[in-house]
Symmetry: D2
Subunit: 269 residues, 4 copies
Amino acid sequence: MTALHGFLPPLTPRGTSALVPNLPWYYSGTLLTVEYLTDPANVRAILPDDIELAPDRPGAVAIIWADWQSCSEGGLELLDPIRSQYLEAFVVVRCSYQGEVYSRCVAIWVTKDFAMGRGWFQGYPKKLGSVHVTRIFSRGKASPRLEAGARLGASLAAYDHRLASALVTLREPSEGNGFVNGHRMLHNRFMPSISQGQGLSMDQLIAMGGVDADLGQAWRGDAELSLADSPWDELHSILPVDEILGGYYREVGVTFAGGDLIADRSRTV
Amino acid sequence: MTALHGFLPPLTPRGTSALVPNLPWYYSGTLLTVEYLTDPANVRAILPDDIELAPDRPGAVAIIWADWQSCSEGGLELLDPIRSQYLEAFVVVRCSYQGEVYSRCVAIWVTKDFAMGRGWFQGYPKKLGSVHVTRIFSRGKASPRLEAGARLGASLAAYDHRLASALVTLREPSEGNGFVNGHRMLHNRFMPSISQGQGLSMDQLIAMGGVDADLGQAWRGDAELSLADSPWDELHSILPVDEILGGYYREVGVTFAGGDLIADRSRTV
Amino acid sequence: MTALHGFLPPLTPRGTSALVPNLPWYYSGTLLTVEYLTDPANVRAILPDDIELAPDRPGAVAIIWADWQSCSEGGLELLDPIRSQYLEAFVVVRCSYQGEVYSRCVAIWVTKDFAMGRGWFQGYPKKLGSVHVTRIFSRGKASPRLEAGARLGASLAAYDHRLASALVTLREPSEGNGFVNGHRMLHNRFMPSISQGQGLSMDQLIAMGGVDADLGQAWRGDAELSLADSPWDELHSILPVDEILGGYYREVGVTFAGGDLIADRSRTV
Amino acid sequence: MTALHGFLPPLTPRGTSALVPNLPWYYSGTLLTVEYLTDPANVRAILPDDIELAPDRPGAVAIIWADWQSCSEGGLELLDPIRSQYLEAFVVVRCSYQGEVYSRCVAIWVTKDFAMGRGWFQGYPKKLGSVHVTRIFSRGKASPRLEAGARLGASLAAYDHRLASALVTLREPSEGNGFVNGHRMLHNRFMPSISQGQGLSMDQLIAMGGVDADLGQAWRGDAELSLADSPWDELHSILPVDEILGGYYREVGVTFAGGDLIADRSRTV
């Protein structure tokens, strides 16, 4: 009898149809980051009860635009690039659990289904969105160069509502590209019972992060950021901007090879 | 301390951001169905080991194009229709488990993220696709009427590869709109462990189906169907067409209010 | 030698590739209309110098959401419905030229390239947009019915900026579905010289309208309308809402078979 | 009285809404090119009667994938990058007119409406398509590097039909990135009369090309190319591949500032 294969559904005899292929997953791309402060009470309100605020700068938030090319082992996706390229915009806060500081993604929008599927596995609360960020080319007059004064725009919309617009003006090379997204991620993975009102079948707390980081020169600069809500998305209302900390740009490569189960409250329902 | 709300991620204090709202979910739309026979060995190969072929016509397959408007309690989605409307194309076979015959969706493509999220909950192996089906208007020369001779086209593509094209010519009113998608659905819900190679954290077999069906007059007719594969999707190769059984069209309304857990092999990994 | 064929570019020996096929063009669909008053000075400002305000209610504006299926002779498009279906949202005012009252489209967004091409031919100033309008199905709980109290939403966005949102609540059957879009259209067709700063090569004033109207029962009701601008589109700023006149819904069919040249100032540049 | 402004429709008092802003237009991006030979009779058949085959290698064809960022004077588009970025795939042949050799675009698909509008002005026969090409990043494992052995994929689809797929394997730096798209473009600009059957109102032959070319290092290599037709697009059938000549990659910048009228047969119809 034929066995079924595939990392995520659908499963088939050959496994070709799976929404997401086996680990590891490889990423090459750019990150445009805006970091800001909100009232720490806003961060507290978006964290589960059993996860605490980070002890240092607990109101810090990062919103990051990533322009990715990604593939699995063998790189077949790179040859049909529609299956390889996507963008995402995501919102990260820091938190503390059992004495350790983590980063945590509290909102994320991506442009492709395979990225949504990876998010379900990794505990990223992914939705689809329309995500754009200025690119840096080396030729012609329709592009900033990677240099002081470069201006990079970014936008995020979902269901035809503009949720975020940003403008980063690069000023100088920097050591890193921000501190908010700098820890391992602490995420919840959950699935309600198929029976209405029976609670959660899967209810896990997991930790994860990339490996084999291949980092380009980071740049930092000034940033402007405008956030909004829609009937389907809260962004301004949950994490309003009190003070902009700065903006960053960096080309990066990274590999994702799995994470660790931290706590499991899954039930047979 | 604020509690977090939402049926599926992301969770927020008010729950507005959730990809999918609470049950029940309401659907109004049309179904264009093509039923055909494939070698029963093909159906056997796409079923998990512990699920058996249906005893009667085990090689029957339905591919269905649904053109939906949907909402949750209160109907807010209907007022911002981009959040309410979507299309899906899905492939259904029948199977048997512990003596009961079920329908089972083995492939499905949808056009919106909320529909993907509902599928993850219901065990539909959803991916994004581009789905189109001819509509029946009552005025003008750019539409068939709901009458004998009406010709309805349909298409499915994913990652810019055309996977299916269909043409149904209606012949006469009929009792129903096919038999393959006529049972409760038997689906697997699973999630791999976040730790590479550790197997499945969630591993459930569930049954579900719609309630409160509000059925329009069904029509049946002749059908043509062309299936293809792509590097990312198997359709022709897993369930090739041996013989077309017929085509159907029907306007329908239905409500989804949950299902039942049949078996659970979830593990703490 | 092979001749080249096609109504609009590209031309090929068989003409299959043409963006738009030969006239006539057939349309079946629905129209959701909101009519309102703006200061007549706003309408005056959006008209060319040689076109005057309509004598009666010169500040009347209609914004219309159309949900179309369309095809050319033979109806091949209907069998590959992605090539047949599109939506558009457009803004119409009235005007007067040489003593005759016309309607005139001053802004329009469509969802497909063939609709853009038809607009270039007809003098509609078409751009791409994301257009959605609530549909009326006959079954299930996720749809209004065509009856008093039905609520229909509509939205328009371009470049991820929401430009218009509307809500129409139907109250009663009515004679017609508004008066602003009720005359022949008076449009300009122009093309700048390929040489910079040389003015217009084509510069025509044309009149056109549909024929063979096949009209469903119109309904009228109350309406809400919210307009906005973006960096790329003016809508609120050019035709702001002073007073809502009403909302309408109607299923319609129509044929377009060409129009008439009214004036021609084209030059050889 | 307010004047109306805008390069292409719609015109408004401030001109902000125009589909395309004033010249000049700036471009920064990458070009992936595959050059091949078809039977010269195929090229002859796609040229108007009064344009002749190029004397040298008349059957040469280039298909080019361009990944662009573009803007007008002031660069406002770069700060809302959804308005600046687009891709296009286009097919170029060479031809001869009054003793001069030109390049000529015979088919082109773009991803944004402003690019369609520019094409109408320039005589490019633009349609919308879905266009993808592998990008070259400097970091991580999900990207080729600009070096021998790099493999770059590309795809083109329209109306959910895959029309072209290409794979270029870079071998070495080269002087240029092909010869087929190396001349000024000779294009027709035409518009049928609004009155059915009256011929063309605008009927121009124009020449144009970019200026201020800012060229990166070109690379050449091997190429594979697969072309197809759909009910709406001819590509394989009009210019089938007899022999692949090679593939190229180059980063480029260019400015478009207008062209020259070569012949004008416009009529007042």
